[in-house]
């Protein structure tokens, strides 16, 4: 029945991740951003928290306790620490979740056990394409059947960790419907291109990927003959990104709140002024609203409902909230908000990404 409190396990997980975010991620995130490189130890430690392995089926080494609600709680807490590191820590999900949701028993048996290991497997997924009028449901990358397999052609962008990936999940349109294909690195015609120069999340290496007559055996089509329900996978991705956006928004709100209590002008903290205090109140309410929309969509997914509508409505709302909140955080810090010594300018750059991100996170 109606309840808005975390259960004991969720509460413990959230505390663990909050501590990790504060003590590990927040210590390294700025250097990682400026260096454009991932701190391997922190990513490894993030993997060891076990958000993904816990949800894997027992047969493949997990605990079989998949819960979208638990995952959105965990992802919010992680993303509060840093978005780029969060996306890196969650990268194995990009392949594991589609396998769990849509893989054939043979595919699951072959690929899933590696996700219960001590090291995060080097995998990634390629969905985004270079078009102004981008729609994840209408891809230009094509998959054509023939000769007991498929031939893939197209160009992908914003592919996380592609330089080190050993296995790619590549989304392509097959007769107009989106399907996904498991492609090992080194397959002929699959070329990892230049590293992307982007506005934020610099610590996360993103790449272009080109597919030139890449041949994929039929058994590597995710879901076998049945294929995938791409809309369902997109919903899993939107939950992950929605939860991450709430984490980024909360980071901005909390930082601005504490700053406004410290910063003295005209003899008193600027938070004593309604113009600042009311901005903070709105930010707090926005973050809470966004979180509840994410939780509700996650809960419905756990109930087995089709959440396409909820996920779309939530995403439009949350994408705006995270940008607004980060922007107001910069505004409240004034000149300091614009300086890279403070974190809020990074959160504004990261926040802008959410409306553009699809399929680069998955829960």
């Amino acid at each position: 029945m109606l309840d808005f409190t975390l259960d004991q396990e969720q509460d413990m997980l959230e505390r663990t991740i909050r501590r990790f975010a504060e003590e590990r991620m927040r210590k390294v995130f700025r250097d990682a951003e400026e260096d454009g490189a991932l701190p391997r130890q922190v990513v490894q430690a993030g993997w060891e928290i076990g958000l993904l392995p816990t949800g894997l089926p027992e047969a493949y080494g997990g605990f079989g306790e998949y819960s979208a609600v638990t995952n959105v709680i965990g992802v919010e807490a992680l993303a509060w620490g840093d978005l780029a590191l969060t996306l890196a820590i969650l990268a194995p999900n990009l392949v594991a979740i589609p396998l769990m949701v849509a893989g054939t028993p043979e595919q699951q048996a072959e690929y899933l056990p590696q996700f219960a290991g001590e090291e995060p497997p080097a995998v990634t997924a390629a969905l985004v394409e270079p078009r102004l009028r981008w729609n994840p449901r209408k891809l230009e990358t094509t998959a054509v059947a023939g000769d007991g397999g498929y031939v893939l052609n197209g160009v992908k962008r914003l592919v996380p960790l592609a330089d080190s990936a050993e296995l790619f999940l590549i989304y392509a349109a097959e007769e107009g419907r989106v399907q996904a294909f498991l492609v090992p690195a080194g397959t002929e015609g699959l070329t990892v291109g230049e590293r992307e120069m982007v506005m934020g999340i610099h610590a996360l290496p993103l790449f272009q990927l080109s597919l030139d007559n890449v041949r994929v055996p039929a058994e590597n089509r995710l879901g076998g003959e049945a294929g995938i329900d791409f809309g369902l996978l997109l919903n899993h991705s939107r939950l992950a990104l929605g939860a991450a956006a709430v984490g980024v928004a909360r980071a901005g709100y909390e930082y601005a709140r504490e700053y406004a209590k410290q910063r003295v002008q005209f003899g008193e903290p600027i938070a004593h002024r309604q113009s600042i205090a009311f901005m903070l109140a709105d930010m707090a309410i926005d973050v809470e609203s966004a979180r509840l929309l994410v939780w509700e969509a996650a809960w419905k997914l756990d109930q087995g409902q089709d959440i396409t509508r909820e996920a779309t409505v939530m995403k439009q709302f949350v994408d705006r909230v995270v940008l607004d909140t980060a922007d107001r955080a910069v505004q409240i810090l004034g000149g300091y908000g614009y300086i890279r010594e403070y974190p809020v300018e990074l959160w504004l750059r990261n926040a802008r990404g959410f409306a553009h991100f699809d399929g680069i996170a998955m829960i």
Partner: protein, 418 residues
């Protein structure tokens, strides 16, 4: 454990409320909007049948359970507040003005139940389970004391000879004041100070009933919306109230332990989510009407489209849906906290501030999306837009609630953040 599942019993009751909304409220909405101040007898009669019986059983149960004056021990969450809020949402979806005419002790009843003695409950609440329809009202606001309740000037002085409180002053914006004091044998809880020098510590509440000498209805307001709802000013000219009609202790409290005043404020913890729920109900009505009428003309939201593929109208509809849902979830969270016995002061103000604003936005958008006819009496949207606005104002304006939220998240007193 996080869950968005409404208890089954409440779901069933909501189905009945929806029937009342569709069959009794909606068909009469326009009539009572045009004929301001007429009693919506269709709605009142249907509701009284049900509420009289409910109130009677509830009262009897209460008397049995705490005949010794103790509050009943409860196990698990108290779903009745969730049920109430869900009903308010549904009935406001029917008609937000008519819902306010529900024959029930309402706010006045909540104030009485919170602090009344056993004997007072018998005198003031038992009658809501018998006879003709009755109403409860609450008089706090004064011309010079709106959001700043503590500035109230109405006084109550004890006449020791007759053992009566003598009340003098003016109270305004009283919902159901006429229904409670003139048109039925109801109750009105009136807030007054027993010591104007004592500030908040001197503020007490008194139950006023029909026929109290010196109490008169000074004015019946004409409003922007919720026109069917009765809103009056009350004049108190040496009004005489029996000593035992005071709720809680008659002692003036120290400024630090302003219990009486805090008692008044505590009723807001329940009433603010109720206003939020009413706002969400009107917003949902307007959103559904816009969706339905636009669908008739071939405009429906395709949730699988990318944002750039949607028309401005589709994006508006999604924005309305998101805000309406978010406001409802905030409201539910606030009452579920209350049901679990947690403090919901912050969440109540969050819900109230956001839901009032949301209803204002959604209803105004709905009128816009309905084109030229949106502005006419062809649809109820224009009425709902007028109705919705009150939720952004009463039980604390949006700004007052923002102030409460701001103080709470910053850990500030009212001196630090004015």
């Amino acid at each position: 454990m996080i869950s968005f599942e409404m208890p089954e019993r409440i779901k069933n009751e909501l189905q009945m409320a929806e029937m009342v909304a569709r069959q009794v409220m909606r068909p009469n909405s326009r009539k009572y909007d045009v004929h301001e101040h007429e009693r919506p007898v269709e709605y009142i009669n249907v509701m009284w049948q049900v509420l009289r019986e409910q109130n009677r059983r509830r009262f009897e149960k209460q008397m049995q359970q705490n005949g010794n004056g103790d509050r009943p021990q409860r196990e698990g969450p108290n779903w009745s507040i969730v049920r109430l809020i869900a009903m308010v949402e549904m009935l406001s979806w029917g008609d937000a003005g008519m819902y306010l005419c529900t024959p029930d002790p309402l706010l006045g009843g909540a104030a009485i139940e919170a602090v009344a003695t056993q004997e007072q409950k018998v005198r003031f609440l038992k009658k809501f389970g018998e006879g003709e329809p009755k109403w409860g009202a609450m008089a706090i606001t004064e011309p010079g004391a709106g959001s700043d309740n503590s500035a109230m000037r109405t006084t109550a002085v004890l006449d020791e000879e007759t053992n009566e409180w003598v009340i003098n002053g003016e109270k305004i914006f009283i919902t159901n004041g006429k229904l409670a004091l003139e048109e039925s044998d109801g109750v009105c809880v009136v807030w007054a100070t027993v010591d104007p020098q004592a500030g908040r510590g001197g503020i007490k509440s008194f139950v006023v009933e029909r026929g109290t000498p010196g109490v008169s209805i000074a004015k019946q307001e004409h409003k922007l919306g919720i026109r069917v709802s009765d809103t009056v000013s009350l004049a108190f000219e040496n009004a005489r109230v029996p000593y035992d009609n005071i709720l809680g202790s008659p002692e003036v409290q120290e400024e630090k332990t302003t219990k009486g005043f805090k008692g008044a404020m505590k009723t807001f913890d329940a009433s603010r989510p109720a206003v939020a729920a009413s706002a969400v109900g009107v917003a949902r009505a307007a959103l559904e009407l816009a969706q339905e009428k636009l669908a008739d003309e071939g405009v429906t939201v395709d949730y699988t489209k990318a944002a750039h593929e949607m028309s401005a109208v589709e994006r508006d509809l999604i924005e309305m849906e998101a805000r309406q849902k978010a406001a409802w979830l905030l409201t539910l969270k606030s009452v579920v906290e209350m049901a679990h016995g947690q403090s919901n002061r912050l969440s109540a103000s969050i819900a109230k501030a956001r839901a009032g604003e949301t209803a204002t936005y959604v209803t105004q958008k709905a009128v816009e999306l309905l084109g030229p006819l949106g502005y006419t009496h062809e649809f109820l949207a224009e009425k709902w837009m007028r109705d919705a606005k009150i939720n952004d104002i009463y039980e604390g304006t949006k700004q007052i609630n923002q102030l409460i939220v701001a103080r709470s998240i910053l850990g500030y007193t009212r001196r630090e953040l004015k």
